[in-house]
Structures are given as C-alpha cells and as structure tokens.
C-alpha cells in the first residue's frame, strides 16, 4: 500500500494496575485530548471515529453508547468494533481509503481493575455446548497450548521465563508501563503452577489505560505532522473458534494475518525488513510462538533467539522493547493499542531510554486471548 494512511497523532494515559481516581470517561477524555493536541486538531476536524470495546469487559449491555462523549464525537459518525484495537485501526484505515474521510480517530481503553470476576467472564466466552461445561479456570486452555508448543518445538520453561525477564525489565524504563520489574529466570521458574506447564509468572497481569490514535490520509497527514507514521500493511484473521477443532501449539491466525500484511507492505523477507516488533505475550510462550508464526524466525528457533539476546533492545531483532503485555499489562481490547503505541514511539524516536537507533519499519501484532484464535498485524514505518 503506497503512502496513503498515516498515524499523525497518538495520546495515552499510560497504563497502571489500578486507576481509582478517574472514571472511564475521564480516562478516555485525557487520552483523546493528548492525541488531538499531538497533531494540532480538534473534534471539528475529525471525519469519523471508531471505538473499541466488549460489553462484559465494560460492565454494560450496550457499551458503545458511552463512547462518543469522551472523544468529542457527539452527533458525529462513530461506531464500536467489538474486537482488538488493531481491527478497529484496520476499520479506520479502510474508512480513509474509501474516500469518505480525511481524518479518522480510533480509540481503546481498559478498566480491567473494575472487573471483579475476570475468570468467569472468560469462561462466559466459551461455547456453552462443550468447553464451557467443564466449569474450570480458563487458563487450562493456555496450559494445553503451551504444553503442545513445547512438545512440538522443544522450547523449555526456561526459554519462556527468559521472555518474562526481558519484557518486564524493558518495562521498567517505559513510563507508560504498569508492571516493570527486575526478575531472574530462576525467580520466574519458581512461581506457583496454575495449569502446568503454565505458572503464575508466565501469565501477564492486567492494567488500566486508554489510547487514542489519529489517522489521516496522505497529504493531510503530511500537513499535520513532521513525523507521520505510515500504515504500510494491516490485516486481521480469525481461525476456528472451536477449541475442539483448533490446531494446538500453533498461531495460524498470526501466520495468515502476517502473510496478508507483508504482501500489502511489499515485504518479502520479514526477518531482515522488519527492524523490531511489539507482539502479544499475554502468556510467556506466546511471544515465541508468535515470532515463529510471523516468520521473524523459523519454527522452533525463537527460543534460541531469546536465549542468545537477539531479541533484547541491544539485539538484531528487538521484540517487545517497551515491555509487551508482560510489562505494560494485559489490557484486553486495548492490548493492540499499547503495542501500536510502543511501535509509534520507537519509530518517532520518542521511546526514551529504550529508544532503538535508526529504525524505519516496526510490526505490531495482537491476539484476542482465550478462547479465540483471532489475531491482527499492522506494519508501520517512518
């Protein structure tokens, strides 16, 4: 895709484990205000808005009702995508390419700290005819997936623990991250088993936060900012929703979405053309599984890259430079948003201490978590 749609403005409240002092309205308003100031626009300049939310995460039956006010979208075109932020971003890109709008705003927020019964909410997403009737802690699905992945690739628990150590250390120098921490591999390996081989610290902790992104068409983008971040490729794919028939130990959704995004971006050799990636690591093994599915390395090779420091900030293929979900937090529908945020900050040279040198192309990838097989990929470049 030629240089046609760019991210010109981005605003966030940052991510914290709890945000008890602000309501979801105030949280979103703050992110929107910063995004619009970031590129010098106001609500009247915006053609349309796309919000991201799932009813039962917000605690409403029709959560989209409460989207417009905080974004300045009253009596303006706005709708909600019940999916990951990168899917909403895809909608925004399509809306600009359709020719109807020059500027589209895309939003996502998390108030995970307000959800008191998270495991039951995830169980409520399962098929009531089969998997849901087990009435067990849904993490068993990740346990099954991790076990198969380790069986197929020879990846060890230690390799997975290395991911946790890397990402949470990177998060310590990311002011927007909630769960930065300096851990050792042994410390992570010693955490309590939840659904073996999945242990406590193999699971990312939740966080609250909001992100608002401003998309603009080609020439309008250039007029609004000196550092437009071009959307060179974007795709989202859903594999079977049936746990009874899915391919365990694989991330086919990421493979297929990446293939589409690479072809749109004209990328032939991802390993060399992608400078860094911010990808879903809701569970430690997922970063490795996703690296392989995205073609950033061969199947079964991810563990060597993480072991040899290739995916550190100082390595050849930095992964989750700002902390990923392990470091910034599992923000449900807003996961894609903070992964895109981290990618944009690196490409703009605004990543602070974690700033990579002379990077041009970054990849952000999201997965919608248990019990889905839905992933989305976006390729950005400065």
């Amino acid at each position: 895709m030629v240089k046609e749609v760019a991210i010109v403005g981005i605003g966030t409240t940052g991510f914290r484990a709890t945000t008890p002092d602000v309501s979801y309205r105030e949280l979103t308003y703050e992110a929107a205000k910063k995004a619009y100031l970031d590129c010098g626009i106001g609500p009247k300049d915006i053609g349309a808005f796309v919000a991201t939310s799932e009813d039962f995460l917000e605690g409403y039956s029709i959560a989209d009702e409460y989207a417009p006010d905080q974004l300045g979208a009253v009596l303006k075109p706005i709708y909600t995508v019940t999916g990951d932020f990168i899917q909403s971003l895809g909608s925004g890109v399509m809306m600009i390419l359709s020719g109807l709008y020059d500027i589209v705003v895309v939003q996502a927020l998390s108030k995970a700290s307000n959800m008191l019964t998270k495991p039951y909410m995830i169980e409520f997403a399962m098929d009531p005819l089969y998997a849901r009737q087990m009435r067990e802690l849904p993490d068993y699905v990740a346990g099954l997936d991790m076990a198969r992945y380790m069986f197929d690739t020879g990846t060890t628990k230690e390799d997975c623990a290395q991911v946790v150590v890397k990402n949470r250390r990177n998060a310590m120098f990311n002011p927007y991250a909630a769960h930065g921490c300096d851990l050792s591999v042994d410390y992570v390996m010693a955490s309590e088993p939840v659904s073996y081989p999945l242990c406590e610290l193999d699971i990312s902790q939740c966080s609250d936060g909001a992100v608002v992104v401003v998309l603009a068409r080609g020439e309008v983008a250039r007029s609004l900012t000196k550092k437009p971040i071009w959307v060179r490729g974007i795709a989202w794919i859903s594999d079977t929703p049936n746990l009874e028939r899915m391919e365990w130990g694989k991330a086919r959704y990421a493979e297929l979405a990446a293939k589409k995004a690479y072809s749109m971006a004209g990328i032939k050799a991802p390993r060399s053309e992608i400078d860094f990636a911010e990808i879903n690591d809701e569970f430690s093994y997922k970063e490795l599984m996703h690296m392989e599915a995205l073609g950033l390395c061969n199947p079964g090779e991810a563990r060597y890259l993480v072991r040899d420091g290739v995916t550190e900030i100082t390595g050849d293929l930095p992964i989750n430079t700002m902390g990923g979900l392990m470091g910034i937090g599992n923000a449900f529908e807003a996961n894609g948003a903070h992964l895109v945020l981290s990618t944009v900050l690196q490409l703009r040279g605004e990543a602070g201490k974690n700033q990579l040198r002379d990077v041009t192309t970054g990849l952000a990838m999201s997965w919608r978590g248990i019990p889905t097989n839905t992933g989305a990929v976006v390729i950005l470049s400065n």
Binding site: L129, Y130, E136, P193, Y196
Partner: protein, 158 residues
Amino acid sequence: MALVERLQVTTQVGYWCGEIPLEYIYTYGRAGEAFYRTLIEKEKILGAYCPQCDAIFVPASIFCERCFERIEGNYRELEPVGIVETFTVLYKNIDGTLKEKPELIAMINIKGAVGGLLHYLKEVDPKDVKIGMQVKAVFKPKDQREGGLKDISHFKPL
C-alpha cells in the same frame, strides 16, 4: 494532565458496585441435540462427514466450517476412543482456590475424526501421560446422564 481537576485526598476515591443479573438456558441446536442424544443412548461420539473436505468433524455440526457445505445429513457415530493431542495439570479452581488434588485435562482427538473433546483424564498417574497416548471415555451410569459434557465422567488410558 488533561483533567482540569483531580482528586486530592484519598478518601475522595470511590467506586460503585454492581453486577449483570442474567441467567441463560442454551438449547443445543439440531446438531448438538443429535450429538448428546447419541452420547446418552449409544455411548458413541457423533461426528459429521464432509464429502468436500473428505473428513469427519467432531463434534457434529450441520455445516462444515471450512467449505461451508451443509453436512447435516452425514452424521457418523464414532467409538469414544482417541489420542491425547495435548494435556495440562490444573492446580486452581475458577474461583481462584487451590484444588485439593490437581486435575488432568486433555484435548482428546477422536479416532478417525478431525477434532474431539476437552475433558478430564483420570485413572492414570500424571507422570505416565504422554501426548499421542490412546484413551477411551468412561460414561456415567445412564440414569445420571442429563445431556451434557459431564455425561462422560472422564477419559482413561485404553
């Protein structure tokens, strides 16, 4: 940053509790009804054969998700045996409490079919469980079967 005013004193912080008070009764649909009737009456696992994909898909459904052909009429009754595609040892309950005894849960591919069931593995020591292991279903007594996944008590090694 963007808010003109902030809470200054921690006692001002507050929240409002609530819940979504709903209840559900899910009917099983045409294929699901057939699946569980077969389970109850014949202790068999119902799949559906898709001629276009040349595969039997379990659990049975009225359509093939891959080629979207209607396969409602091609039900196949399969033996309740399969292999362990993957397994895990679950230590915690959904309410966060620790289980007295960790439970073994496995993805069991039904022999001769694509797909299978997630279920408990019992009558086996976790150390002996291997991916690829052959297992078979153990059914509850017929009069205790209510038409649900738990009509199968668990799977055990063949």
